[in-house]
Symmetry: C2
Subunit: 327 residues, 2 copies
């Protein structure tokens, strides 16, 4: 199976690449070719498999055609700029997150018009398509009320994904990722960054700032669970999706206090002591409008599996990022 990953240099893209190379299969089909694309050329992993890496800005006309030259049967579209940046730079957000996606979808449609091409497209949407007022647990039929340009762009792409799939131009699955914790590496411009920071920094022996109250509740998945969602979406039977192609993923609901309690259980009081409380009114207001928990019944019924506990989420970070060692 020929696989294209767009956004392969990002955190999830790199982990997905590693996972595909390790498993060697999508469902029961071997991965035979892998094309890794991002705005900066992704690093080619050490492997016997034929891997092509491409530096490509999807929002530039013609680029999507190049990415489809080998007619990949499976396309992961993970490329996006994050919420904070899309809010700060209106034009860039629409260009990358909306126009880039639409140019990809159009290129697939045009390729299909030349004869029989209809790939699986796995698109990463976001829980940011939902904004207040929200119920404490969000059902699979919650209406989209994005309160950011990023959430608006993701909601629009979900609609396009559904229409292009309905028309038979490709076979799309949209997955609304929970907030990923523990996000490794440096903080990015996502406003949700502190949810990872209050775990990642103390686990590395560093100070972390908590800008909201301990009672703030949110919806999470580990990077490992996120990669699992993507791989499941790539291999699943899409017939049960009908016209509704996007799914809220089964994350884990937890308060900041529960995050910290899990950190204490896994890494002790020393780690917890590194968290400094400095209320940020702007972040507090923003987070108050965010989803707290989801039913995710459709996704669960279709076989998507999330993390079992917050302790597990922290242990995954220690295993996958810290070589098993807490600072």
């Amino acid at each position: 199976m020929k696989v294209l990953i767009i956004g392969a240099a990002g955190m999830i893209g790199r982990k997905l690449t590693a996972s595909l190379l390790q498993a060697g299969t999508i469902g029961d089909r071997p991965v035979t070719e892998l094309v890794l694309a991002d705005v900066v050329a992704p690093q080619a992993p050490q492997t016997a498999l034929a891997i092509q890496t491409i530096a490509a800005d999807l929002s530039v006309a013609g680029v999507a055609d190049q990415l489809l030259a080998g007619r990949p049967e499976l396309i992961f579209h993970l490329a996006a700029i994050v919420s904070g940046e899309a809010e700060a730079d209106f034009e860039k957000g629409y260009r990358i997150n909306l126009d880039g996606t639409r140019l990809l979808f159009e290129a697939i449609r045009q390729a299909g018009a030349q004869g029989g091409y209809c790939p699986r497209v796995v698109f990463t949407s976001s829980i940011a398509v939902f904004g207040e007022p929200l119920p404490s647990v969000i059902s699979d039929t919650q209406h989209h009320t994005p309160l950011t340009s990023y959430g608006t762009q993701k909601a629009i792409c979900e609609l396009l994904l559904a229409d292009y799939s309905r028309r038979g131009f490709f076979d799309g699955v949209g997955i609304r990722l929970p907030t990923i914790v523990v996000r490794p590496g440096k903080p990015n411009r996502a406003a949700s960054g502190f949810f990872s920071g209050i775990l990642r920094e103390p686990l590395a022996g560093l100070d972390a700032v908590l800008p909201v109250a301990d009672s703030v509740r949110h919806w999470f998945a580990s990077p490992r669970a996120a990669v699992g969602f993507l791989r499941h979406a790539a291999a699943m039977d899409t017939a049960p999706l009908g016209a509704q192609r996007s799914l809220s993923m089964p994350g884990l609901a937890a308060t900041v206090g529960e995050e910290i309690a899990a950190l204490q259980r896994v890494a002790g009081d020393k780690a917890v002591a590194l968290i400094r409380r400095e209320t940020d009114e702007a972040i507090t207001r923003m987070v108050a409008g965010w989803p707290q928990a989801f039913e995710a019944e459709r996704a669960k019924a279709l076989g998507f599996k999330g993390d079992s506990s917050f302790d597990e989420i922290i242990r995954i970070h220690i295993e996958d990022e810290l070589g098993g060692v807490i600072a």
Copy 2:
């Protein structure tokens, strides 16, 4: 007040123009200038008011800038191709219904960036943003599940309208029009055409074909009510809308059987006898997925008013289109 109507040559656009000229005001402000735009130049009505008519395809780059040259304070954006055509011609549907709208919104944003321009934008959305599975009465928080490209395009434009309004680029109100009956003139390519046809043709002494069962229930408004919705959206206080800028309008729910019963009461057995039942499986399947009724609580609370009965809807057609005379 300077007013721009885009889509002014269409049925609703012409009736809106006539209504504005007759009333002379939007809310308590006089209409001082009127620009009428459509793909074919709208006819300029006989009036003392300064009226400019423009033939303009909004989906062509730069055209929106021309339409905004006089900095209209109120913009009605009614221009769209209908559902049947958007389904038959995928590219044209997206070009006119999505790209045209986005180019308009962008042109307003760019004009605003040059200093202080922030018009009211009244956008006609559609109940086609909803598709099966649907409850028998649809609430104001029903999620968007369009089953046509037209419905997808309208749902996307609602999202853009909300984001551009949230950002302060304009002050948008989206109104999801019910199916308009009795639509005057010739049938257009909307799949919903028969709902009007079975009234309009018999009232003119002509045969009409009914392609679905009498039990089919749907959601209606007269052209006069639709113009009322548009004028109310133009003058209303938008503060109570918050981030959710689009509203389902208070239409009237009726079955085809109830339509025919109203026709019988208003125009007698002779009219009803002109309806010929010829089941069309394709139309029957399509209509089965359409909305049947809405709560429209938000719109009612905000002062939008629909028709009081189907008899009234038919009488409006006889008054406004037939000079009070039934064939």
